[in-house]
């Protein structure tokens, strides 16, 4: 399950992690994740609320529960 990404190049295998997934599936996915590692930040820019500063200043909830 461990794949190397830019921000943690030294990540090691964690064999204690039980991840049920076919070997081909895991390899395929790891490859894809590597390719998209930077891409995710661009994607965040794309979907992030455009008026981020205004939004977080206006986001006031009456308490619940």
């Amino acid at each position: 399950m461990s794949q190397k990404s830019k921000h943690s190049p030294k990540r090691e295998e964690t064999p204690s992690e039980p991840v049920e997934e076919s070997a081909e599936g895991a390899t395929e996915r790891a490859k894809k994740v590597r390719e998209e590692a930077d891409d995710i930040l661009d994607k965040i820019d794309e979907v992030l609320e455009k008026n981020a500063s205004g939004f977080v200043k206006s986001f006031i909830q009456k308490g619940g529960e």
Binding site: V19, V33, F55, F59, E65
Partner: protein, 533 residues
């Protein structure tokens, strides 16, 4: 992991006859696309409930009659106004769901209560089904809004301005376990577990400073034990409303938790707490006292755990020693593991213990070597979120107070499948999943098979005109006579598909089913006493 948490039998206790039931509640933050909602929060929440597509719920009301939230587990009764809305208000506020759960308005927020579940896998998928139902309601609201507005809905717990809303866990616990032992045994766990189930937030809501918090909720707690969920919140909540057989069970209401997005964090939050409670039930007071440390000041410790990203803050114990949070969490784990090594365990228990041990061990390593995540940045919410924020801030060269970082924090919890940031990470394989998406979709319509939620949800869906109201512990049927009939569903482990499935199936009317119940043969749905309402 996809099958490792699964257990078709739900056999995670040593005693196979034990009825171990839990359910979770998610309260949602809500805003227009500007971020504002103001005084419209309650109105929009009601409209959201009213926008749920009809295929997921019929016209039944919520039966408030059996509800009584003012019993305190410490043995007294608190003054309070019991909720008894009129018919119109009841309908505006509630949807009794075919999946056995409830979608409603509480405290001006939309809220989803998942049905009672017996396996951890069901806990996970029915909680996520709630997000999907709310998302469907939200899209329908937007399509129907004459002003063309759009909504934002977040499964989080704080707004950054000192307001908090809840995520509540409910555990059925044997009443034979004294409440004082629950307080003594559970507090260390509730204080320490944010290290694996904190949702994280960029800053304190209460001006405590220090930046990132591991838990969204910790700093809103002010007393060790208390009844209120809105003011002077207590780490151990004392509400004693079992929705069940009062003499046999209590429903422990846990209000300290964060609304997790990560399935792994949710699984650990609920799974570890469930096992600990079972271990407390099965252990002697002496074993408990020897195994589980007692904190000198649980409230301060809870706050300290949340703001200490190094996981090293010393936490004073009542015996004069101090422990770090990792050691404290390790003690709780060891107590539970030793109990199950003695008593025996089923596969689900083993899987929870394995995952728990693995995460604690990796958190220990992470605290020693900076920059080493050991996979936790794919599993644990606060680590995932912190990593994402750091990567974003670094690559975009933006300062810590920038609104975009706070927005990333919020939007991590956005429930939209295509714009929620956690959902985005998930769809790209950047975080570990436990469930198959298909299992979640099935949970929108079909109740859990192995609790009374099966009876409730199936009855609602099969007899939408005759079942006029339900609650956690009742179903009210209009059989055409002069009085309504209330079917008590007091035992959460009865009314299962195995016991009641064929009965519901062979009747074409609820009245027919009621007649068979009244004739003597109960379906495991509890006794039927024909009580009139």
């Amino acid at each position: 992991m996809s099958s490792s948490v699964s257990s078709p039998q739900g056999d995670f206790v040593s005693d196979p006859t034990a009825c171990r039931v839990a359910g979770t509640e998610v309260e949602y933050g809500i805003a227009f696309s500007s971020g504002e909602i103001g005084d419209l929060s309650a109105q929009i929440s009601h409209e959201l409930v009213g926008s749920l597509p009809e295929e997921y719920s019929g016209g039944a009301l919520w039966d408030y009659e059996p509800e009584d939230p003012f019993h305190d587990a410490r043995g007294f009764y608190v003054e309070g106004q019991r909720e008894r809305p009129d018919r119109g208000e009841n309908r505006r506020t509630n949807r009794a769901l075919y999946n056995g759960g409830r979608f409603y308005v509480d405290g001006g927020h939309p809220e989803y209560s998942a049905p009672e579940c017996r396996s951890l896998r069901d806990i996970l998928r029915f909680e996520r089904a709630g997000d999907r139902l709310v998302e469907l309601a939200m899209h329908r609201w937007e399509r129907r809004d004459p002003r063309g507005r759009s909504l934002r809905v977040f499964r989080n717990n704080a707004d950054g301005f000192g307001n908090s809303w809840g995520y509540h866990e409910n555990y059925l616990v044997a009443r034979s376990l004294p409440f004082e032992r629950i307080v003594a045994g559970l507090t260390a766990h509730l204080v320490s577990r944010p290290i694996f189930c904190g949702a994280g937030k960029v800053a304190s809501d209460r001006g405590r400073g220090g930046g990132f918090q591991i838990s969204q909720r910790a700093e809103f707690f002010e007393v060790p034990v208390g009844l209120s969920t809105t003011a002077r919140r207590g780490i151990v909540n004392t509400r004693d409303e079992p929705h069940s057989l009062h003499e046999r069970y209590r429903r422990l209401h846990v209000i300290t938790g964060d609304s997790n997005c990560s399935e792994v964090s949710t699984a650990l939050k609920v799974g570890t707490t469930m096992l600990l409670l079972a271990a407390l039930e099965g252990s002697s007071p002496h074993d408990q006292a020897a195994g589980i440390p007692v904190l000198l000041d649980p409230v301060s410790a809870f706050h300290a755990v949340s703001s200490d990203l190094t996981l090293r803050a010393p936490l004073p114990l009542s015996d004069g020693r101090t422990l770090g949070v990792l050691d404290l969490a390790e003690k709780v784990f060891r107590f539970v593991k030793d109990f199950y090594l003695r008593e025996g365990m089923g596969p689900e228990t083993r899987q929870i213990l394995d995952r728990w041990e693995s995460v604690l061990s990796r958190l220990g390593s992470m605290s020693k070597v900076q920059g080493e995540f050991l996979g936790l940045d794919r599993e644990i919410d606060w680590v995932i979120k912190k990593g994402l924020l750091d990567r974003y801030a670094e690559s975009r060269s933006i300062p810590s107070g920038d609104g975009r970082l706070r927005m990333i924090d919020l939007q991590y919890h956005d429930i939209r499948s295509d714009r929620g940031l956690f959902r985005l990470l998930e769809s790209r394989g950047e975080v570990l999943r436990i469930l198959d998406p298909q299992e979640i979709e099935e949970a929108l319509l079909s109740p859990p098979a192995d609790t009374r939620a099966y009876f409730r949800g199936t009855l609602l869906r099969r007899f939408p005109r005759e079942v006029v109201a339900v609650s956690w512990s009742s179903a009210v049927v209009d059989d055409g006579s002069t009085s309504l009939k209330r079917i008590p569903l007091e035992d959460p482990c009865r009314g299962t598909q195995k016991v009641a499935g064929a009965l519901i199936e062979r009747h074409v009317t609820a009245s027919g089913l009621l007649a068979e119940l009244a004739s003597g043969q109960t379906p495991g749905a509890g006794s039927v006493n024909g009580k009139e309402t």
